[in-house]
Subunit: 208 residues, 2 copies
């Protein structure tokens, strides 16, 4: 029996190259949870295999900017001239249905979520060592030295954001990391601050 019936918003973030998306995939492949992801909105063109409302909500720049102005995003970012964002209304709908909503986003977006939805759970994924991350960034291989250097500089800056998060999860092993995130979700539901109201409701049902 879960005392807190509203879903939790769980933000998975961390430095570039730490393996956020493999952790998120491992998390969704685990049993015994009601995790949802929220479909993002973007201004970039759909690829041939992509469907509107499934991979992304595709809108044009004017529409996206209007939505920014109307405060309709939980978080958004611009990347090489295109916008990407998380529509607030969709997230709230899922949370009200009691589903946990998982966002896997960059540090910039994560900190926007913190200010828009202070009750969100921010998880910072870290590598077991700094070297492990550098090695990972190098092994991607497709990038030239200049790009690599830029990514390392970015990661070094992002490392310092850990203190702004609720939890630090080491990605030593992707299944361990996913397992720790499930434990965090279970524990957060049991937190007195989230569950005291449902608990008081139980006390009201007093037939003794």
């Amino acid at each position: 029996m879960k005392l807190n019936k509203k879903g939790l918003l769980v933000v998975i973030s961390g430095p570039s190259g730490v393996g956020k998306s493999t952790v998120r995939q491992a998390l969704f492949s685990m049993k015994g949870h009601k995790l949802s992801y929220s479909v993002s909105m973007t201004t970039r063109e759909p690829r041939e295999t992509e469907s509107n409302g499934i991979d992304y909500y595709f809108v044009n720049q004017d529409e996206f900017k209007r939505r920014i102005a109307e405060d309709m995003f939980l978080e958004y970012a611009e990347f090489v001239g295109q916008y990407y964002g998380t529509p607030l209304d969709k997230v709230e709908e899922l949370l009200d249905q009691g589903r946990e909503v998982v966002l896997e986003i960059e540090t910039e977006g994560a900190l926007q979520v913190r200010s828009k939805m202070p009750e969100a759970i921010l998880i910072f994924i870290v590598p077991p060592t700094k070297d492990a991350l550098y090695q990972r960034l190098r092994s991607r291989g497709t990038e030239d030295d200049y790009q690599l250097e830029k990514r390392i500089l970015k990661a070094n800056k992002e490392f310092k954001l850990a203190h702004k998060y609720d939890y630090i999860v080491v990605n030593d092993d992707v299944h361990n990391a996913a397992d720790r995130i499930l434990a965090i979700i279970r524990a957060e539901h049991a937190k007195t601050s989230r569950s005291i109201h449902s608990y008081l409701d139980i006390l009201e049902e007093d037939h003794a």
Copy 2:
């Protein structure tokens, strides 16, 4: 890999009759943890089967009172003329060894722990319904109506202490409850406030 290397002090408490000790037993029977319990000190006489330092530390009243005066207990209580307490030094020793120390104590002691060791994790075990608790108290059967009434009154008072705890865990099923406590322990180790220092140490080990 666990970032926070110090053990956690986990206090299991809740209203009388909620099943604290069966939850604690289920918790210790689970795999994949390093849980310790701390041996209590008491002034009552040892039973034939009991050994000093294993079941209890047995001391006389003068010794116990001297230790109270010297602030050597994490918590203590008097019960029908005898004292029972948790020696602070033993708990600290285990925590420093990286072991999780579990105390299963009455609400009075739990609140003493809160003030002595604010970093302790206080877990309030609750029944799925109030009726379930009353039924449990009744089914113990050994007590007369007056004793039962007294216990129910006490439980009703204790119910109202939930807000002073960090977590509320429903004892709908003893294994579920124990499992939730393990999740809480894992999540607490990942909390940024506990793990940030070890994390910063990792960052210092920078050979790139």
